[in-house]
Symmetry: C2
């Protein structure tokens, strides 16, 4: 008996599906080399695995073109995303993890937990809708909210905005954000924007408003809602 989880897929299979899902959320198609980068493996290995996933009916692959999840593939990926995000919420709210350390733990556990455990955790948490980084949690039946957010880098000068979502991959980046006072729900005005991919200056509201400078790249990865505009 080979090591397979709940879904009947190997850990590796699951990791590929989740990675492809996440890449599709950005571009239209997931590229071989992007998958390879994300999983830190050689592109040739991806070609091989993609062929297997394709034979399992989980992805569609037009050689030299790109990979797309099928309906079944997306379902599996979303199950894994649900596991990951529920775990993140559980570990932070019940076991004292910080938002910058929780990702790695969840990444390993997501392959080992049963559906039952995830649902028990979700229950104990009151069925949360967002993870500690603001990402929406897919429902049991594979629905996921498409957050309608604007990257900080695209918030117009002078607008007031709220930080709603950050990428959970990089713990150091998250620790840095905390040190700037940029937590989820932080409200701020955009007071300056340098051209040529320069930094954005914001003024955080609070009892003592303070200004912070955020580099372009970082500002690209911060999902914000603009005050006054309602968000779906």
């Amino acid at each position: 008996m080979r090591t397979v989880s709940h879904s009947g897929l190997s850990r590796s299979n699951e990791d590929y599906l989740k990675t492809i899902y996440e890449l599709e959320s950005g571009d239209q198609q997931a590229q071989t080399s992007a998958i390879a980068d994300a999983l830190a493996i050689a592109p040739a290995s991806v070609s091989g695995m993609v062929k297997r996933l394709s034979e399992l009916g989980l992805v569609e692959h037009e050689p030299y073109r790109g990979v797309q999840l099928t309906r079944a593939g997306r379902r599996s990926a979303l199950k894994l995303v649900r596991r990951h995000r529920i775990l993140e919420v559980y570990l932070t709210s019940k076991l004292g993890y910080d938002w910058d350390s929780v990702h790695d733990e969840a990444e390993r556990l997501e392959h080992a937990v049963s559906d039952e455990l995830i649902e028990r955790m979700a229950m104990a948490l009151g069925n949360p809708r967002y993870d500690p980084h603001g990402a929406p949690i897919p429902s049991r039946d594979g629905e996921i909210e498409q957050p309608d957010l604007v990257a900080l880098v695209d918030v117009p000068l002078g607008e007031t905005a709220e930080l709603r979502m950050v990428n959970d991959r990089d713990g150091q980046r998250l620790r840095y954000l905390s040190s700037l006072g940029l937590r989820l729900g932080a409200v701020f005005d955009v007071v300056a924007r340098q051209p040529f991919r320069g930094p954005v200056t914001i003024r955080l509201s609070g009892s003592v408003p303070r200004e912070q400078i955020v580099g372009h790249e970082l500002a690209q990865s911060l999902g914000c809602s603009i005050r006054g505009q309602e968000v779906g």
Copy 2:
């Protein structure tokens, strides 16, 4: 990067070590076929793996003789046992699992959780000393209490005893025990014992004392302390 956990050992390695540890607790040496049975794999596969574990310095193997854990091997095994048992306590006390369903979940999670998570769970539980089946939990530094218990089948006629420990492997057996009212801490008198590996009859104390008949084999797997005698 191959799939390895915290310890630097593969999941398979860990499973072997834990199995050998558990077999050694009974006999002196763990036999190849006993390991194979416990892990539901072919004896030939065990021979191969044992050689690898031996090269890693985790077991000592005299061909055709048997396997014994080295100090390092025992340390790894006890770490895994600690993980397993802390998980069992956590899942039962914090997430509503029953003692008959918790083993399988813990069995998968024990390979995925980090040391940190286990210690956080232990902390949240107040550093429990026993798992939900009464088995002692090894300490962080690999000490484990040797419970000084008597199998129900060996409790003398007329004695009053308390159920202190049951094997956690078989969920059905545990459900059956529950249905008899035999939970941990249950106190009873031995009122009859049939010879030739026959059943034991006990009278459970409680507001309404009731008699139960327990088969020989089952009675062998129940660890009891006899009332009046103190237990180490």
